[in-house]
Symmetry: D2
Subunit: 243 residues, 4 copies
């Protein structure tokens, strides 16, 4: 049988006084246990990616890996700082915790988006099977596969500096394309990312200059639909969960 914990007891009747007590009572013991709990959880190691393509130069490929590692390095540092950051004096204007939270989101998204991008492209033998979830769901939610392509290109070319992503919106329960600004702005809440193309200028400007349409299409020509299909299967399983 489970014990009952009334939230009234947790935060108390006199809201302001009680929460202060909670803060001081726990501040020593919990900050240690918190630190121990989180210390390992947030350490992320860079993965190895082969970018097999003739559409990008070797120098761009290796520079891109360097940038990716920079985000991981920053994210790990931020996570460690957040373990012990002062949570009792934050405000909406200026505090260490607040800055760390923004940088956490920025570097965390940058890390994952790069990993998704490196893994879902670079397949010179790219092909999509018509009875795959990939094909069927894009067809269902965009009208035709070509309509998805058209919308993906339109979204990609609309990016000032950021990402174009096809993913599953958990509220709409359908697949949509989104335009991400930088790494963390203009993102759908509850969005599981599936097809990711980097539209920062560092991905295309060296090899394509201002012709970002050719870059984008080159990436679309080498999408690894085997990797993408695994993500669609997960999205479909998520869709089942949310029914």
């Amino acid at each position: 049988m489970s014990s009952i914990k009334k939230s009234d007891k947790i935060l108390g009747i006199d809201v302001n006084s009680i929460i202060k007590n909670t803060f001081s009572a726990h501040s020593k013991s919990t900050s240690n246990s918190l630190q121990q709990t989180l210390d390992e959880a947030f350490v992320h190691e860079p993965k190895q990616f082969k970018q097999v393509t003739e559409f990008l130069s070797e120098k761009v490929k290796s520079a891109h890996i360097e940038l990716y590692k920079g985000y991981i390095d920053s994210f790990n540092k931020i996570s460690a700082k957040l373990d012990t950051a002062n949570r009792s004096e934050t405000n909406s204007r200026h505090s260490e915790y607040r800055s760390l939270k923004f940088d956490e989101t920025y570097n965390l998204n940058a890390t994952w988006l790069h990993e998704l991008y490196f893994a879902n492209g670079f397949d010179p033998y790219s092909e999509i099977v018509m009875d795959s979830f990939s094909y069927m769901r894009l067809q269902r939610d965009f009208g035709t596969f070509e309509d998805w392509q058209r919308d993906f290109i339109a979204a990609g070319l609309s990016v000032g500096n950021g990402w174009v992503v096809t993913g599953f919106n958990m509220f709409l329960k359908k697949y949509v394309n989104i335009i991400v600004n930088n790494h963390s702005d203009d993102i759908h809440m509850g969005f599981y990312p599936i097809i990711v193309v980097d539209m920062w200028e560092h991905t295309y400007f060296r090899d394509y200059l201002t012709d970002k349409k050719s870059y984008l299409i080159s990436q679309m020509k080498e999408l690894n639909w085997t990797v993408i299909e695994e993500r669609f299967k997960k999205a479909e399983a998520i869709a089942q969960v949310l029914k």
Copy 2:
């Protein structure tokens, strides 16, 4: 047996010329089918919410519902416009499609966040069971339940204008708190929202003036852990999918 569709065939060898053909060949027929497909899918109806609480005045409650309905109205208009927006001349500086996509994200997030918020609060009999997923997962990922409270308050007070949300990060595979700016900035990619408190000034300034800490704690005292537990169960099922 499934047919094979090579992506080379789809987008062609001469990238620039082929994609143009694709565009013109399909532009008539598909824009119609696209429109039909999407027309109904995106129409969202406002839901009914009872905000049972003495911590907020009646006028704030009804004004809040009015704002919520405004976002739904805008979202439905945007969705209809996106069905037929010109996708062949977008760019990263100025185009109808680009503006619509930003407004889509803004109003879509605003709609869902408000629905999550209205549904997960306003329970005067709020209590959390210690062997619930809610309690156990917050304990596991934050150290203790009080550590989660402390971090949630710290995050909430760090919001300039926006939202504080506890949710499941699908990359880290753990529960974290995030600070959302406005409705669509500083959001984690792949984030399933679970505990949502509105930190726009319209929620608290009338009743609490600058004392947003008392507002935030009042909301935390009336969290509906039954509703939240259902979301945690879904997040746990999503976690299983992503293993």
Copy 3:
């Protein structure tokens, strides 16, 4: 006669090695002198404002002053930290200096915008003279004075959370209205602010709920055109400088 200082000498021929030398050679001595120079310059004191109006409740007025003082307090703290912040290891992902610079802009703008707003409104005897710069320039650049009003209202109602400002754009060399998001986004480079109305929800939601149009018009009815005329005179003098 003036000495010549070649910039080649300053940063050296071998760019990377020299700049490092410069950094270490100066780091001790200059960080002290820098600190002394800046220490006083950035300390800003709150000003006294009487908000004489019946369009806003007393509680909103005093809460607003409290918020204003919070920004000044944060700005002064940030300025002090920036005096000695580590400038040799900044990057675009995560560094103390970078966070401080963003917070500097945010709090500095918030401080000045509030001061401009408090000073240019709250005149129950508001009247504008037709041969004033205020009237003539708004007429010249917007078509008619009513066109300025119309555009100002349109801009004000377009603000999600932020400010509507009439000012002098130093590039266009004309007066325009801008929509500022929060305190520091979507701002014109080279923009001298003249007529400022706060459109954060804390200014109107308590007294007007969702009817922000009535709030905005109430502010426009009590604009202090004497204060504004002084600003227009300065803008005109700036226009002369830029000819």
Copy 4:
């Protein structure tokens, strides 16, 4: 003798009803005169710039001019649309006027910042005179000229995607460095730009890959202090105006 125009008469006693009358009474006649007034004012022509430097490749230089012209083209289109955009039904969620205003700021800033950047660099004979305003003011407000360099580099390397700018802050009445995100975020209100270096990846990634420090220093080595001195003189004259 000037006529007096009471603002009460302009906007009326019954705020809501009167403003509607004003709108309808003027909507026909003024929208025409407004259009005529603005039509020419906002048309901006690209300027010619010689980018004399060996620090950037020819391809980057010409691509950069192409991007610059794109912003001017967009800005001119936006200005024309704004002349006649519907101002009577704007809101903070979704309206044509609102989108146009954001795009106006974005493209206007991009245009001017590029012009400032093209004009203030690319001088292989770069040298700064010690009794110039440039030298004396940077020394006064940063401690030493080297301190300005150090802060400018720190700010430049902190940019994710955007600009580093030295300019005159009209509120602080001193020269400061700012970090601009993209083209219009994190900008100081009332900021006259003087020394501008583009830190978008399109300026350096092709020639310097991830070594943006070498790019930034190369730009600083070729700053055209004659052009910059003219801007400092204007800033000094503005400082006099604001006394």
